[in-house]
Amino acid sequence: MTATTASPQPAAPRSDRSDEVRKALRTVDTGRRRKDRAMQVVVYVAFALAVIPLISVAWTVLSNGIERFDWYFLTHSMRGVFGGMDAGGIYHAIVGTFEITLGATIISVPIGILTAIYLVEYGRGSLARSVTFFVDVMTGIPSIVAGLFAYALFAVFFGPGISMGIMGSIALSVLMIPVVVRSTEEMLKLVPNELREASYALGVPKWLTIVKVVLRTATAGIVTGVMLAVARVIGETAPLLITVGVIDSINFNLFDGRMMTLPVYVYRQYSQGYVPCNDASAVCIPEINFDRAWAAALTLILIVMVLNILARLVSRYFSPKIR
């Protein structure tokens, strides 16, 4: 780049400039490179630190739980099992966990999604702000408090000492609703406004736009959010101990009597500790309670994993495609 005519900008500074540019392009910022390396190391170390406990937990649960984890264990309850007997299982706890969590999901998902729709699509002013505030407060409620709340609620109607599966569902839904609201809200906010306008411009009423365009576009994210909420409550112990209690036999009825759940089962087995084996004539395993606790914990983790995979498949099915 050289100027041939006598222009107001003389030739010399111009070629200086292009030399400068050439130099600037070739400069290697060693300081930044070093920082880049260092940050890479930090990131990898942080990742490793995060993964170590995860692997360690998975390994411990697997190695301790695999011994008693079999078909018999999954399909039998604890009815008539005592001492160090080589028997007993978690069928009743699986039933309870499924029913109670399902109940909590059925209560929380509509309430949570409708609240999120209100906040994103309709909410203006102080009402919306206070709803957001209370949802935030709810997120921080200790689970034991949710349990006490459900218990107190039912005790008003049925008297003290009441225990039902549905009480557990309600306690869990207190914990679940804010998570569903928050995640759904974020997903709805991600739906571009252009799509709403496109729908309105076709003469589609607002509520149909919300149901068929906004919710449909956000389905994949909402499913993932609901799944995370389920994963959050399926392992709750304290509120279920208060509301649903403990039982050794199978109870399918969510609306009558105590039920067993997996986390409570784990707690219960663990707290019973070693079995004193004095009678040499019968089969007696001293650490049977610990074995059962680990196997039940393994089952719980597997259930959460399966649910996660299902959610992934569902959300992949619903997510927008390009080709």
Binding site: L202, V204, P205, K321
Partner: protein, 259 residues
Amino acid sequence: MAQRIDVKDLNIFYSDFLAVEDVSMAIEPKSVTAFIGPSGCGKSTFLRTLNRMHEVIPGARVEGTVAMEGVDLYGDDVDPVAVRRQVGMVFQRPNPFPTMSIEENVLAGVRLVNKKISKSDAADLVEESLRHANLWEEVKDRLAKPGSGLSGGQQQRLCIARAIAVRPQVLLMDEPCSALDPISTLAIEDLITELKQDYTICIVTHNMQQAARVSDRTGFFNIAGTGKPGKLIEMDDTGVMFSSPSEQATEDYISGRFG
């Protein structure tokens, strides 16, 4: 039958901000009306009041009347949803529904309002709309593929097909070609000329040649300064506007002296 629109003393507000002031005009049926003017003068704002999309924005409101065949679109007994079925809209950026296939996108105006439509009627409507939008030949073998897999120009024509599948009387287009290459732009301009046989069309454009090529009448909006409301400076047959406008500002703008 396309309809005539009469706008009278229209003031358009965003909350307290008067964005467009005192517009009166007549939009002739089965013709193309172009709106031109510098950025921020309220062309989009005005266009969106013609199908009551303006009020979708919180706090937005209008004063004055927009009458279609003598019915004030802002009357108490008029449902905005019904207005939008008569007055369709194509946006600046193509916005097909990402969860829907090409076919579903065309049928969106029918399906989203839960209207029953037989399979064969639906297929006919899809073909007719896509043919009208000059897109049929390009997509007829991939109707079940997602609409977002098309090129920008194809997406825009898909949006036009979607808008005309509702069979509106009037079609509003806000800079429909601003995101498109010259070839797609020409395709859409041809399309506009064709659509004019059946529809009343209003188009906002920054492209003078485009306005001169496609429109029958042209309205020029201008703004006195930032924070001031936009105004309709003049409106006339496109030939007159581009050869001998009566306002100096129009001439300056058209000849590229500002804006």
